[in-house]
Amino acid sequence: MDQILFLLFAGIAVLCGINLVLQSHPISSALSLVGVMGALALLYLQLGGEFIAAAQLIVYAGAIMVLFIFVIMLLNAGKERAVPRYLWVRWAGLPLLFAFIAAMAYIVQRILPPSGEVKFGAFTLGSAEAIGTRLFTTYLLPFEITSVLILIAIVGAIVLARKEIE
């Protein structure tokens, strides 16, 4: 049952990812990305990361992508027009991609130590409580630094967006 569900959600994620690249309309692409994020949230949930799953849904699918779609709608962006490409790019692109993936798989297989088998339900540290404890003890410094970084980004956005008023 776990394997079937995993394959189902992973398949949805991959299909949405491919669709994201293939679609020519920005809204279709953005919605495919929402699909990828939803499928990822379900995969997290299946692996025992409940909090991460919820955060993925709330932050990425529920807030960031809504803003994306909002902006696309506001600018009323139309279909992308395909730019004429060199002939060799069209024919060599796919084989090169597969060659790259194969090389990556080979390197990972050779250099990285073999990881243990993933068991569904074996990971139990994904609850909000466990993550909160870790964030405020072991990973306190990275956590605080990240929040300062985000604050800087917010201030920067406000400065850039502010109208020049004399």
């Binding site: 409940e50 919820a54 709330i58 699918a61 529920g62 809504v66 909002f70």
Partner: protein
């Protein structure tokens, strides 16, 4: 009992009750608004218009589903589907009562108890924006597009104060699971003041409750925040181009969101299914007394009829109320019925406020709405969160 079978039965019960609630909520809304405005409301279909929801459903199903030209077909059809799906999913984590024992089977009165229940609701309700935004965009209509844009901006803005308002009682309750949230609110100060979040000491969450309810009005696009469908400016907003069942889906989504939000407010702030005062002081007899009073009123008016047929109909209702009062006295049924009664009463009260406000208040202007969210509601929610965290940190053991 088989887990799958049990879940199927519970799902059937919840879906059945929810669908009837949604249908009759609309009837109640029309009736209440009519009485506020000194009208009588729907009266033609069935006694007191009670079959009006059925008539509406038949009308909407048999109506021709118009498809305007030059719409983006996929998204045009997907939008109502998204809206109604994500509106209905949320009900699956709402508990309606404690863990009960039916014929040897122990089960909680909810579909599932997630340990991230409240986050699940936030995530799912955030996805509901897509339905509205896509509907507005795909309709190929400037009014619909403006309505969709307004609505998505409004929903994003009001999600912030809403999340902050939810966070402060969670600090006190220290859990994300709805069942535990209610169980933590179960004891009484001095034996009679309920330990609900809004009465919690040292820092009662009454402000958080008010902020939550205000943000909930905006999230569900209800008056006074129903700008996405401001008729005088935008025809019908994002669902201008929708008809028949596609329109009904949006309609149903709005009412389902109202029910969900009321349930969350009840669970987080009003102690869920806990009675307002302890059972040993006789809170178990409140439903009996209410139904007895209703029965007595019926019998009194049957004895002094205002209309000729009151002599026949009112005694029937009187006897019905007496039977219901008697059912609440049966000891075997009490552990099931009393929590349901209190939960229903609290949710019903909040839903009534929704309708009451719709009949009372005018609509905000758009800039007022945004200013209100960012310059008033958000800072107030922030201050409330800070004060609560301070109280929690100072009283922590």
């Amino acid at each position: 009992m088989n887990y799958l079978l049990l879940s199927l039965i519970k799902t059937a019960v919840v879906v059945g009750v929810l669908m009837h609630t949604l249908a009759y909520l609309q009837w109640i809304e029309r009736k209440v608004i009519a009485h506020v405005q000194l009208r009588v409301g729907p009266r033609r279909v069935g006694p007191h218009g009670l079959l009006q929801p059925l008539a509406d459903v038949i009308k909407l199903i048999t109506k021709e589903g118009m498809m305007p030209s030059h719409v983006n077909k996929v998204f045009y059809l997907l939008a109502p589907f998204i809206a109604v799906t994500f509106a209905l999913i949320s009900i699956s984590v709402i508990p309606f009562g404690p863990i009960i024992n039916v014929g040897g089977v122990k089960t909680g009165m909810e579909l599932t108890d997630l340990n991230i229940g409240i986050l699940f609701i936030l995530g799912i309700s955030g996805m509901g924006v897509y339905g509205v935004a896509l509907a507005g965009w795909a309709s190929n209509n400037k009014y619909a597009l403006l309505g969709g844009l307004r609505s998505s901006a409004q929903m994003i803005s009001y999600e912030l104060p809403m999340a902050l308002a939810i966070a402060s009682p969670l600090l006190i309750l220290n859990t994300l699971s709805f069942r535990q949230i209610v169980e933590k609110q179960s004891f009484y100060y001095f034996g009679f003041i309920p330990n609900w979040s809004i009465f919690h000491s040292p820092f009662p969450q009454i402000f958080a409750f008010l902020i939550f309810v205000i943000a909930a009005f905006a999230e569900t696009n209800r008056v006074p925040f129903d700008l996405p469908e401001a008729e005088n400016e935008l025809v019908a907003g994002f669902h201008t181009e929708y008809s028949s069942m596609k329109f009904a889906s949006f309609f149903m989504a709005e009412y389902a969101n109202m029910v969900t939000v009321s349930c969350v407010a009840t669970l987080l702030f009003l102690g869920g299914w806990q009675p307002p005062f302890p059972v040993q002081y006789g809170s178990g007899y409140i439903p009996v007394i209410i139904h007895l009073i209703a029965a007595l009123v019926c019998f009194y008016h049957a004895a002094n009829p205002a209309r000729p047929f009151d002599r026949i109909t009112l005694p029937v209702f009187g006897v019905l109320f007496l039977v219901i009062a008697g059912v609440f006295l049966i000891p075997v049924l009490q552990p099931v019925l009393l929590p349901l009664f209190w939960f229903g009463a609290k949710v019903g009260a909040i839903l009534f406020v929704f309708i009451w406000i719709r009949a009372t208040l005018p609509r905000f202007r758009y800039d007022q709405l945004m200013k209100f969210a960012w310059l008033f509601l958000f800072p107030v929610a922030m201050i409330n969160l800070f004060a609560t965290s301070l109280a929690v940190a100072l009283t922590a053991k």
